[in-house]
């Protein structure tokens, strides 16, 4: 077994755990920082445990950089929690820094890379500076046991307590293990203290260990044995002298007794070749500690021992259970920097009210339930025609089945739902650091952290959120002087909120800064050729130009706003998730980002359409409307493409049948249905289909996993009739339709610039 003990399998768990621990450490650091005047030692304990656990695993996997750094970190935290070093604001900053470094080191370990010592040496030194500034106390960890004490010194230290017991008492009982040619080379005297048994150390097991080293003969000493009616079963009365013949070194013998050295008298002597004992006087050794290579602390006074059961256990202190304050609600959501925050106490989670489940298992469950939904729908369809009119029972049965299946699906989907809190939790610190760096004073207000969303979506939230907030901090919020000059309060505020709306999750980031500088935006757009100078965009449209591709370039995006990634990439990512993002601005008053995402990425509401004999699904979130155009509204283009006129705008028609080579489909828009959808890069386009069949919630099945990616197709699903239907990728289709003509024309840009999210007045 030991040969196939592969540590790799535990690494995944370890790194997952590290991420959780780091998040927890940060949370606790925030608590600490918000209440420096009244430090809760439990918070310090919690942070210590986080780092301690990370270090433990690092040791097991031999991540040397991590071990090295965590050691200093842990030592400092230990002293902090013991109250040996006071907590100060500067120290907390260093702790934050150390946590960041720790996070980097963990990432490196996970990526199997070494880290540049420069990365962490500086911080490590800062940590150690705090450790060294502490008044040097008797660091008993480094004390080495002095083996060369005289008997008088031993007595003075208390080791001599049991010297008197070394008497030659009569009537030893002999247990003989030895065969004829038994020449012991060690004599071991073992006198357990009466309380030894209370440690669950068994002399019998010690003897067994000895026998694994060689052969022994044991002589039992019964001198301490009391009468039967006085015997206490928890006490040790016997002692032994072992004669051992072994090839093992003395250290091996010492190791046998390593746990019990403090609770017995132990004498290990070498027997000279001729069978004589060496002069005992010279060999009177102080209590033998375990192998010298381990540094043992000098125990100045005897540690409190376990009391015999028939006495009051007065010596043992009352169990110090770390009672954390229990309340029923969660930590105060609004971590407002600088404001008089209520003392955020450490709340304890309810006793094991949740379990950890591997995501794989949940995914499989979701999948299976999805299949169940499909099967049930199929069955229902088959049977619908067969149910005789008067069979109400059967019909009812199917109704019930359908309802239960739906409920089951909802419950299963709910398993993966998580509060956005985990994403929101990292924002306060970001705001604090950035505002400090920019020299601005900002308060962060959060709302709706318990709003739940699918785990798959949570992971995608952090990026856009980060960009929106950075944008606010960098461009939106003014400096303190500017604010005061315009009569605003010196402290700016950013509001971050999440709520469920029309079956989606809506996240808002708003600030009370100076709003978008429309003049500059226009100038920039025009200078980049995104806009002609005689445009007629509305204010809202101008604001949303910041999302236009190519609007921001690397050299213009400041360091604070992020690595040259502009809002256009943010929007593209959001849209690829089926979401929308838009911005509203009030000059002088503030800016508001609104982002909406589907609640889950596993299921979607789709519009089922027919094209020829094939059925396709168009995600409902992309659909604007569908029209039956008349001839006058159709405008053919030179290259054979078609446009349809709608309310003064021209919308490009996507000929699905052509792109997918579907035979027998409608190819005249006036005979079919044009479904107007929103695309990322081409604004509105109209997909030509034969007819609309209905609307349905479908389980998304990945095409990549089961087949290969296909242009124009986002995923697949299985309909009630058992057939596979492809879910269309409207952006991909628009791309395919435009083919080589990828350049943008004015008509398309205008549409592109139009809002893709909720309009200013809540109109969806």
């Amino acid at each position: 077994m030991p040969q196939d003990f592969n540590l790799e399998q535990f690494k995944v768990t370890y790194f997952e755990e590290c991420h959780e621990l780091l998040a927890s450490a940060e949370e606790h650091l925030t608590l600490l920082q918000n209440d420096l005047g009244n430090v809760d030692v439990e918070v310090l304990h919690a942070i210590f445990r986080c780092v301690h656990s990370i270090k433990g695993g690092a040791g097991a996997f031999n991540f040397t950089d991590l071990i090295d750094f965590t050691h200093s970190f842990e030592t400092l935290l230990d002293k902090l929690r013991e109250g040996e070093i006071p907590v100060s604001a500067e120290l907390v900053e260093v702790l934050y820094e150390a946590t960041d470094i720790l996070s980097t080191l963990v990432q490196r370990a996970q990526a199997n890379e070494d880290s540049d010592p420069q990365v962490w040496e500086k911080t490590k030194q800062k940590l150690e500076a705090y450790l060294n500034s502490e008044a040097p106390s008797a660091d008993h960890r480094d004390a080495i046991v002095d083996y060369d004490l005289t008997p008088e010194q031993e007595d003075a230290q208390g080791w001599g307590l049991f010297v008197d017991v070394v008497d030659d008492t009569p009537a030893p009982e002999v247990t003989s293990q030895a065969a004829q040619n038994f020449t012991p080379n060690y004599k071991i005297k073992f006198v357990p203290e009466p309380h030894l048994l209370r440690f669950a150390n068994e002399p019998l097991l010690l003897a067994r260990e000895l026998s694994s080293l060689g052969t022994y003969v044991a002589h039992a000493d019964l001198s301490r044995l009391v009468d039967l009616d006085q015997i206490n079963p928890d006490e040790a009365y016997l002692s032994w002298t072992f004669e051992l013949e072994t090839d093992a070194p003395k250290s091996a013998i010492e190791e046998v007794f390593e746990f019990v050295v403090d609770d017995c008298e132990l004498l290990i002597e070498e027997i000279a070749e001729a069978g004589e004992q060496k002069a005992p006087a010279a060999e009177k050794v102080a209590k033998v500690k375990s192998a010298p290579k381990i540094d043992e602390p000098v125990i100045e006074s005897r540690p409190p021992t376990v009391e015999p059961t028939d006495q009051e256990p007065a010596q043992l202190s009352a169990p110090q259970t770390t009672q954390l304050q229990e309340t029923s609600d969660d930590r105060a959501p609004a971590l407002e920097a600088g404001k008089e925050a209520p003392k955020a106490t450490l709340k304890q989670q309810a006793k094991i009210s949740s379990i950890r489940v591997e995501l794989d298992r949940v995914d499989r469950l979701v999948n299976m339930v999805g299949e169940l939904v499909i099967s049930q729908a199929m069955l229902r369809q088959q049977v619908e025609n067969l149910i005789p009119e008067d069979s109400h029972v059967m019909a009812q049965g199917f109704e019930d089945l359908s309802a239960h299946t739906r409920e089951l699906q909802e419950s299963v989907m709910a398993i993966r739902m998580q509060p956005v809190k985990s994403v929101f939790a990292r924002i306060p610190r970001m705001v604090r650091e950035l505002s400090a760096r920019l020299g601005k004073k900002v308060d962060l207000i959060t709302q709706g952290e318990m709003t739940e969303v699918d785990k798959t979506v949570i992971e995608q939230l952090m990026d856009p959120l980060t960009h929106m907030i950075r944008n606010s901090l960098d461009h939106g919020i003014e400096t303190q002087e500017e604010r005061l000059k315009s009569g605003k309060p010196e402290r700016a505020s950013i509001k971050l909120s999440a709520e469920h709306r029309s079956g989606r999750i809506q996240i808002e980031v708003s600030d009370d800064g100076k709003g978008i500088n429309r003049q500059r935006v226009l100038e920039k757009a025009i200078s980049k050729g995104l806009l002609p100078s005689d445009h007629n965009l509305t204010d809202d449209e101008i604001d949303n130009l910041i999302f236009a591709p190519g609007f921001s370039t690397a050299e213009e995006v400041s360091d604070v706003s992020g690595r040259g990634v502009g809002m256009d990439v943010v929007r593209r990512n959001v849209v690829s998730l089926g979401g929308r993002i838009s911005v509203f601005s009030s000059p002088g008053e503030g800016t508001r980002f609104l982002m909406s995402l589907p609640l889950t990425l596993a299921v979607l509401d789709g519009m089922i359409v027919r094209c020829g004999q094939e059925k396709y699904i168009i995600p409902l979130t992309s659909v604007i409307e569908s029209i039956h155009p008349i001839a006058e509204e159709i405008q053919p283009l030179m290259n054979g493409a078609m446009m349809v006129s709608m309310r003064g705008q021209y919308i490009r028609i996507v000929n699905l049948h052509k792109l997918f080579n579907i035979n027998g489909a409608v190819n005249d828009p006036t005979h079919g249905l044009v479904v107007i959808v929103e695309t990322e890069r081409y604004g509105h386009v109209g997909i030509l289909v034969d007819e609309l069949l209905g609307q349905q919630q479908v389980v998304i099945k990945s095409l990549e996993e089961n087949y290969d990616p296909i242009d124009g197709v986002a995923a697949a699903t299985i309909l009630g009739n058992g057939k596979v239907a492809l879910i269309l990728d409207v952006d991909g289709l628009a791309d395919m339709e435009h083919g080589s003509e990828r350049h943008r024309t004015f008509a398309n840009l205008e549409q592109q610039v139009l809002l893709t999210g909720e309009k200013a007045h809540g109109h969806d």
Binding site: T13, E17, A46, G59, E202, P297, T322
Partner: protein
């Protein structure tokens, strides 16, 4: 051999590793995340060995050991405390509280099994 062992540690990684090593050697391993959890899981049922970490939330290892040594059912059960090399004082604290022995982290599976066989019949 087939011992019944309780592994107590707030780190899942640690529990996994201890559990894996012992199960592979044919033992049954129960797990707990902290001292209180350990007591709850034990109840009145004896186990052959308890292996516990020191630093844990709610109830730490030292307290757990003290509690166990006062418990009618568990007071004679061998207890091993998990301690790190750099914190030798924990060994003594553990011992003082009543631990039968200790294992120093990081440990090899062989070492773990060796110590287990030392303290268990």
């Amino acid at each position: 051999m087939g011992l019944r062992v309780l592994a107590v540690d707030d780190s899942k990684t640690m529990r996994d590793m201890v559990g894996f090593t012992l199960r592979n050697a044919g033992h049954e391993v129960l797990e707990a995340g902290d001292g209180q959890d350990a007591l709850d899981k034990l109840g009145q049922d004896k186990v052959d060995l308890i292996i516990t970490d020191v630093n844990m939330p709610r109830m730490d290892g030292i307290t757990l050991i003290k509690e166990l040594r006062q418990h009618a059912v568990h007071k004679a059960t061998p207890i091993l405390v998990l301690t790190t090399e750099s914190d030798a004082s924990k060994k003594n604290e553990g011992r003082a509280a009543g631990a039968t022995g200790w294992i120093v982290k990081p440990f090899s599976p062989d070492k773990l099994l060796q110590v287990v066989s030392k303290v268990c019949p």
